[in-house]
């Protein structure tokens, strides 16, 4: 730590005498990189690093340094590491985290330490409404939105009855709540499963007995893989499966054919027809050997946003940089992009379907636009500034 402090001084002294702003822009990447959900963090990390590489290691023309840090999926450890990044390593911006509970734990340490927080995934409602914070920018979406979009789609598609399934914990309730908010058909049953559940045969038997028009699932990570595989094996493929955070590029390699045709929603997909997106996907595959998931795309966007904002306002004046982050127009992989009053995105949402790509890999594919310029439900409650 002593060494890092000294090296900063050395850099300052060596670079352009008289110009204090010459030390590199430091960006902390605080992502969960260990434990079962590590793959999500890895996608985000790789997306961000790819963006930096594309920018020749510079943000807004200034030399930049990325400090990759593992949040370990534990709020207390993440909070500690956030403080280390901001207080000890001198990060100006932190990009992270993946999970909402980590976000709640690090938001204080990051913003009170004088840095900006750019979230490449987590968008919990606490920071979208009254608790919105001028130093926090959510580059992904508000957590409830994908579910609400699916609810709207299910209503429009004429599914009269749906069985809901989610793990028995807070995020599970929230996501099902999002779906129910916009879905106007019958909820046949809500199946609450256990966190980390392995065997879904009991739930699948319930679904088979109910014979609903469709199933809606929120089963992230390994739970989703277990469920989707067993769904197909139980002979339920005839019942349409919609989900959020269940079938994406992080889990599809493990689901493969079992997930084909399953539906979800998002504001980005690898085949979204937007300038630069195809190039990003190809570069990502070439560099990391897998199809990028939304975590990678949003982290890439976060870095691009940062680059454009620093180019416009520099890093010296915090208020100017904040204003630039809010308003600047950057080349997003989602095409048009803007922030709402709560600094959550206002963006288009698509229905996506699992397909097999020409190269044999599995990915989500944008099928149709469901909602344009979607503003989250909490934005009105934000009265920041």
């Amino acid at each position: 730590m002593m060494r890092s402090t000294l090296s900063v001084f050395a850099l300052c002294a060596a670079a352009l005498p008289g110009l204090a702003a010459a030390d590199p822009v430091k960006v902390g990447l605080l992502l969960t990189l260990s434990g079962p959900p590590a793959v999500l963090g890895e996608h985000a990390r790789d997306g961000a690093l790819l963006a930096l590489k594309k920018l020749d290691g510079k943000l807004g023309g200034e030399a930049a340094e990325f400090l990759v840090t593992d949040a370990e999926g534990k709020p207390d450890i993440a909070a500690q590491k956030a403080r280390r990044l901001v207080e000890s390593d001198g990060a100006d911006v932190v990009i992270g985290p993946i999970f909402s509970n980590i976000m709640a734990a690090i938001a204080g340490p990051v913003t009170e330490g004088g840095a900006f927080l750019l979230s490449p995934n987590a968008g919990p409602s606490v920071f979208a409404g009254e608790g919105c914070n001028p130093d926090i920018f959510v580059v992904s979406y508000q957590n409830d939105q994908p579910d609400q979009v699916m609810g709207e789609y299910a209503s429009g598609a004429g599914y009269g009855s749906v069985v809901l399934i989610a793990p028995n914990y807070q995020a599970g309730m929230d996501h099902l709540g999002g779906f129910k908010r916009t879905y106007d058909g019958d909820i046949t049953a809500e199946l609450m499963t256990q966190l980390g559940q392995l065997d879904y045969s009991a739930e699948l038997a319930q679904i088979a007995a109910y014979q609903p028009d469709a199933v809606y699932a929120f089963l992230p990570g390994g739970m989703g893989v277990n469920f989707v595989k067993q769904y197909q094996q139980a002979g339920l493929s005839g019942i349409p499966m919609m989900s959020s955070f269940t079938t994406d590029e992080t889990t599809l390699p493990a689901m493969q054919d079992a997930a084909l045709g399953m539906l979800s929603s998002g504001s980005w997909s690898p085949d979204l027809d937007v300038p630069g997106n195809a190039e990003f996907v190809d570069d990502f595959i070439a560099e990391y050997g897998r199809v990028p998931a939304s975590y990678a795309a949003y982290a890439y966007d976060a870095v691009m946003l940062l680059d454009t904002a620093i180019a416009a306002a520099g890093t010296e004046d915090r208020d100017a940089l904040r204003e630039a982050l809010r308003t600047v127009d950057f080349p997003s992989l989602r095409g048009k992009f803007s922030f709402g009053a709560n600094q959550f995105p206002v963006q288009d949402f698509y229905l996506t379907e699992v397909v097999q790509r020409a190269d044999g890999a599995y990915a989500t594919s944008a099928k149709e636009l469901v909602t344009a310029d979607y503003v989250d439900a909490y934005a009105d409650a934000c009265t920041a500034e």
Binding site: T5, D76, S88, A105
Partner: protein, 314 residues
């Protein structure tokens, strides 16, 4: 003064010197690490009371850490922000949980005790996972640190560190008295030979239960401090792997010596911090170090130290 208290006092002094040292080299983050070390040292001390002196291998001790942390959140929600009141509430809740779970668990022995304490730990974990009012699985952020006599002194990291250090010193001092008092000797006796204890007129159960409850209460105090340090409360504090980590600290330092428990916590937290900064795959190195300690130095660091010292004298 024998070697053990000297070592413990040396550790406490070493910790106390961290904030000035951090200020001198301009890295306030060192104080944050030292705070975490001290918090876990309290937790490790509490576990040492039952594990080291009573041979009760609790694999669910992290539950008390979590109970303490949630006591802060619950109290704060109801407007009680005073640190000492929160500690009292935490200790009370922990005492209740320990009395009930201990009364059941202490009927079993050995491997069964390890597993039944694990079961109670998991019950506590899942209870808080499904507690929507406090964020369930996600946990909940604290609005601010606890207050002392109505003042927000603890917002200052250095002040908070010395508060934690004072708690650690108190916990160490109190436990050191306790293990050398009548109660401690009886507890040690139950560790050495339960049958003998009964044959000279003791009922081991009640002493074990008392130690179990006391240990839970002290660990809950550590939980109060942990929640204050991170300003966040989550069920992750009571995951079973956390209980495993507490045992690791104890074994690394040396079971059955209070100084060893403290040293183990310091070394574990320090090592994690150091290795994590060095490589993404730090767990591999940490595992290898642990394995080396078990295989070649069964009494932990204190055992290693003792052997080195003995070797030097020879």
């Amino acid at each position: 003064m024998s070697a053990a208290p000297k070592a413990a006092i040396a550790l406490l002094i070493l910790l106390a010197l961290v904030p000035p040292a951090a200020a001198a080299i301009g890295d306030p983050f060192l104080t944050v690490i030292a705070t975490r070390m001290a918090v876990f040292a309290i937790a490790a001390l509490s576990l040492d009371l039952i594990l080291g002196y009573g041979a009760l291998v609790s694999f669910g001790h992290a539950a008390y850490l979590g109970l303490g942390a949630y006591a802060v959140a619950v109290c704060a929600r109801h407007g009680i922000t005073d640190l000492f009141l929160q500690m009292g509430a935490a200790a009370l809740a922990a005492a209740l949980f320990a009395a009930v779970s201990g009364a059941v668990s202490l009927r079993t022995r050995g491997i069964y005790f390890i597993m039944i304490t694990l079961a109670f730990g998991q019950m506590a974990y899942f209870f808080f996972v499904s507690l929507s009012a406090y964020g369930g699985d996600d946990g909940t952020a604290l609005a601010a640190r606890s207050t002392l006599f109505g003042r927000a002194w603890l917002e200052n990291d250095t002040a908070f560190f010395y508060m934690v250090l004072a708690c650690l010193a108190l916990a160490y001092g109190g436990l050191d008295r306790l293990v050398h008092a009548r109660f401690g000797r009886v507890l040690t006796g139950t560790r050495e030979s339960e049958l003998r204890m009964r044959a000279i007129g003791y009922r081991p159960f009640r002493y074990r239960l008392a130690a179990y409850v006391l240990s839970g209460m002290i660990c809950a105090v550590a939980g109060v401090l942990l929640a204050n340090q991170t300003e966040y409360v989550s069920p992750a504090y009571m995951a079973w792997t956390r209980s495993g980590e507490l045992i690791v600290m104890l074994l690394l330092g040396g079971v059955g010596t209070l100084a060893g428990a403290m040293a183990g916590a310091l070394v574990t937290v320090g090592l994690e911090e150091l290795l994590a900064g060095w490589s993404e795959h730090w767990r591999l190195c940490f595992g290898l170090i642990l394995l080396a300690v078990v295989l070649w130095s069964p009494a932990g660091l204190t055992g290693l130290l003792r052997r080195l010292l003995a070797g030097g004298r020879r």
